[in-house]
Symmetry: D3
């Protein structure tokens, strides 16, 4: 009866893609650990890009910096 | 000073119902463990049904399958 | 099919107390929102006091400060 | 490669303020623990005030009670 | 740069099994959403069985009840 | 009354370092958003390295691969 929380930026994942994530991670837990799919809960959080930070920056600023060859890796 | 996170599908819980959850879980922690209500934090997350999986399916698909006597339990 | 996460400091909650929390919060969700107990998941995290902060201090320092009439409320 | 989740009430935090939180907490982890900013992830959750409880009440009710000198501290 | 949290009961998952979960969920996010594995973070929480509730009971009690044909589903 | 969860690998952070994280993030939220330190909760999770994945690998394998100039970035 696992619980899985998947956090991604909100950038247009479709219902079909989210269904594929739910099915895929549930199957993975069944295959690797024998967990019962019937009681596996998966919750997907889609997070606004302003609210997601990486490299000390909001993610869109981070990507722009990466694309321009800026100092951050 | 507990922290409680309640995750439910977003299906029309009213402000009054959410207030009742907040009051109820705070009282429970006071009664069972003597926790101070003044510093008990409760956060309710309402999750879109597309983003909630159970039984390897998005929850609305899961419920439809259950209702039709499908293979998953 | 809610998911509830309860975070408390690790200070000797017994198995019976934790069972009471699990039963109580599950019943609350059934009573207020009609949620099915069979698919309500509750996870309790017990956190070492060194790892719990309130008022800008580890919780044991915070309590000592409160007890001595220190500046923090 | 830490992960930090900051939960606040949704009350008008600006993109600039959220960027400052992301930069500040990433710098803190680098300074205190030597964590690499490039792999430090920060996720900010802004929670509707109806969904945030403190002192056994939704936060706006709690603040109103505090302002009126009510019984809760 | 997703973040995934997998919560399971602490019942002897091996390091190899946990590595398989980490690799599997990272590959799933790459395949379905094109997410970069290099910045996909996976955190596995193993939770003591006393601290995991389902059906209003600690999980070991729940399983015993199921095995004995008790009232809960 | 924010809640902050900091997740790091369990690799010997001292109580003093953890206190510095608690104080630092609480001060940051006060400075940027005017949040009251008295009701700011910080919870630090230290995660076993077997249970932390990055780049599709447990973190120690990932670091070894990086150090040897392996294919992953």
């Amino acid at each position: 009866m696992p619980y899985v929380n998947i956090q991604i930026t909100r950038e247009g994942a479709t219902a079909a893609q989210k269904a594929e994530l739910i099915g895929g991670v549930t199957a993975l837990l069944q295959r690797v650990l024998g967990k019962n799919p019937a009681t596996t809960v998966v919750v997907i959080d889609e997070v606004d890009t302003d609210n997601w930070g990486i490299g000390g920056l909001p993610v869109l600023d981070y990507r722009a910096q990466q694309a321009s060859g800026g100092p951050a890796r």
